[in-house]
């Protein structure tokens, strides 16, 4: 019995001949991630009057294979913010663990300094969404400077220090920006134009109600499912507001789909061109 991990799960030598191990021993320089492996597709988010709504489907694809269909890609942070991950799923899991550690450290240090017990439950003194976004930006940028990037595009939603809705993006190179609506991956091409119809400017976003924003985002998820071949009809939806904190639902399903348009378009599978 060969106990080396390199020998696990290989074809039997007596049937298939000696296994070619050569690719396992790289003699060249150390290699970091060259491409994402298991991936999540778009994350979309839209600001409204008193908060932000964010959505991402629950699919983790292995190339074009819909490999894992129950992988939520939105998480809350310290009951103040929502983080949505597009891109590599293993790097998302790394960031997820890292953010959990960070929030535990923050919770410990912010609770021990509270001299008056009445505000121990409040979230003041912990990292807000703007702080968290800045931190993630520095983290991703430093990783890319080490030529070992975390292959993600991340959206961060919540409230800033003056308690106004906050939404910002950071990508695998550490490029950061904000906008009233944001989308990663395919969503940047498909969902962003739809969201901009409702909230092109901060002023327009500040007039949207929660119901309107949620409806727009749900509509965008539907369009993404129609057009993005790496998407799924089950998705997570998060709403973050000052009053309600973070509400995440991880078992949303697309409603009222209509594929009628598909008949007129080449490339939707069932037709013979």
């Amino acid at each position: 019995m060969d106990h080396r991990p390199q020998a696990w799960g290989r074809p039997r030598d007596d049937v298939y001949g000696a296994y070619d191990n050569s690719y396992l021993q790289s003699s060249g320089p150390k290699q970091a991630t060259q491409s994402p492996i298991v991936t999540g597709t778009s994350v979309i988010a839209l600001k409204f009057k008193d908060g932000v709504v964010m959505a991402a489907d629950n699919l983790a694809s292995y190339g074009s294979l819909a490999r894992f269909t129950d992988v939520p890609r939105l998480r809350s942070f310290a009951s103040t913010s929502v983080v949505g991950f597009g891109g590599d799923v293993s790097d998302m899991q790394y960031l997820n663990r890292h953010l959990t550690d960070l929030s535990i450290d923050e919770a410990y240090s912010s609770s021990t300094t509270t001299t008056s017990p009445q505000d121990s439950s409040s979230t003041t003194g912990t990292l807000n969404a703007a702080n968290l976004h800045k931190y993630l930006q520095k983290l991703l940028y430093s990783r890319r400077n080490n030529f070992d990037p975390l292959w993600n595009q991340v959206l961060v939603a919540g409230l800033d220090s003056s308690e106004r809705p906050f939404l910002a993006s950071v990508d695998m190179r550490g490029t950061a920006f904000t906008s009233p609506s944001l989308a990663t991956g395919f969503g940047a091409a498909l969902a962003q134009p739809i969201m901009r119809r409702y909230a092109e400017t901060e002023e327009q976003a500040a007039r949207l109600t929660r119901e309107e924003a949620v409806a727009v985002v749900k509509e965008c998820m539907k369009v993404l499912f129609y057009r993005d071949a790496r998407s799924l009809d089950r998705y997570s939806l998060a709403v973050v507001t000052k009053e309600g904190g973070v509400e995440i639902s991880e078992d949303e399903t697309l409603e009222k789909q209509s594929w009628a348009f598909a008949e007129r378009i080449k490339g939707y599978g069932t037709q013979t061109v």
Binding site: S109, S110, T112, T113, T114, T115, S116, D119, T124, G125, L127, N128, A130, N131, K134, Y135, K138, S161, S162, E163, R164
Partner: protein, 273 residues
């Protein structure tokens, strides 16, 4: 003949369980001129007596701004304080860079506490010969005052004094400790000056040359939060405050009675109870 064999380094215990190098360092703090710190609900103040080495020289600074929201008062070896002050400035700046917020004061204090303690546990190192009072504001309960000792001990205080003859000032502070929380900016400074006066040698008094005052404050929470950045006042800027407590001394009984002119009448009665 009676040479102490157990004070050659900071890692050796004496048979009585003492570490002499650390105790000597604490003595160095007592050689420094006195500094007083007080925190209320809205402000934290540091006041200090500056000393000049000789008649012809200038006065050694005692208060140093660290960041927008933090300042320190030093008692002991100024050169060691410089090292700590530079370290604290660096840490505050790097925290601002990574998180985009003021560093929580407790977090900062823990860093210097840790650093000072390791100095007492390594052969070939020595403890810092300086004690600090650190005043700052953060989003974790407003203004804070911390004491730092060369042993690495740190503690949050309502009010405290370190340095030469500081026991007299502490006695004043203990007598008035219940009043501080409700004090406004000017009242708090007045209390600081009165505490400082207690520690003065017989024929010395507060002058615009030897007095230094540092103030940091915060009002409101969340969106309405306004910070008064840490600022050091010297020279003619402190003349009015000296005047205010000097009047007081003539007017009423020494020390714990607030100025008859400026303070509300109710407070004078409180003292009499």
């Amino acid at each position: 003949m009676f040479r102490n064999n157990y004070d050659n380094d900071s890692v050796t215990f004496s048979p009585q369980g003492r570490i002499f190098q650390v105790e000597y360092a604490a003595e160095a703090v007592k050689q420094g001129s006195v500094v007083v710190g007080i925190a209320s609900k809205t402000h934290a103040v540091l006041v200090a007596i500056k000393r000049n080495a000789e008649e012809l020289s200038s006065y050694q600074k005692k208060l140093f701004p660290i960041d927008e929201h933090v300042g320190i008062a030093i008692a002991g070896l100024t050169s060691d304080a410089r090292v700590l002050s530079n370290f604290m400035k660096q840490q505050c700046l790097s925290h601002r860079l990574t998180y985009g917020r003021d560093m929580p004061v407790r977090t900062l204090i823990d860093l210097i506490g840790e650093r000072a303690q390791t100095n007492t546990q390594n052969l070939g190192k020595r403890p810092y010969g300086v004690g600090l009072l650190v005043a700052g504001v953060d989003e974790r309960g407003g203004p804070h005052l911390f004491e730092f000792q060369p042993s690495g001990m740190t503690e949050e205080m309502v009010a405290f004094a370190i340095g030469a003859r500081s026991q007299m000032a502490r006695t004043y502070l203990e007598k008035n400790v219940d009043k501080f929380e409700a004090c406004g900016r000017e009242e708090l400074i007045a209390h600081g000056l009165k505490a400082l006066k207690e520690s003065l040698v017989q024929d010395r008094e507060l002058t615009v040359e030897n007095l230094s005052v540092g103030v940091v404050g915060v009002t409101g929470e969340g969106a309405k939060r306004v910070v008064e950045p840490f600022k050091v006042y010297d020279g003619q800027d402190v003349a009015a405050w000296i005047e205010a407590v000097a009047d007081d001394k003539e007017g009423g009984d020494d020390g714990d009675a607030p100025a008859a002119g400026e303070a509300p009448a109710g407070e004078t009665m409180e003292v009499d109870e």
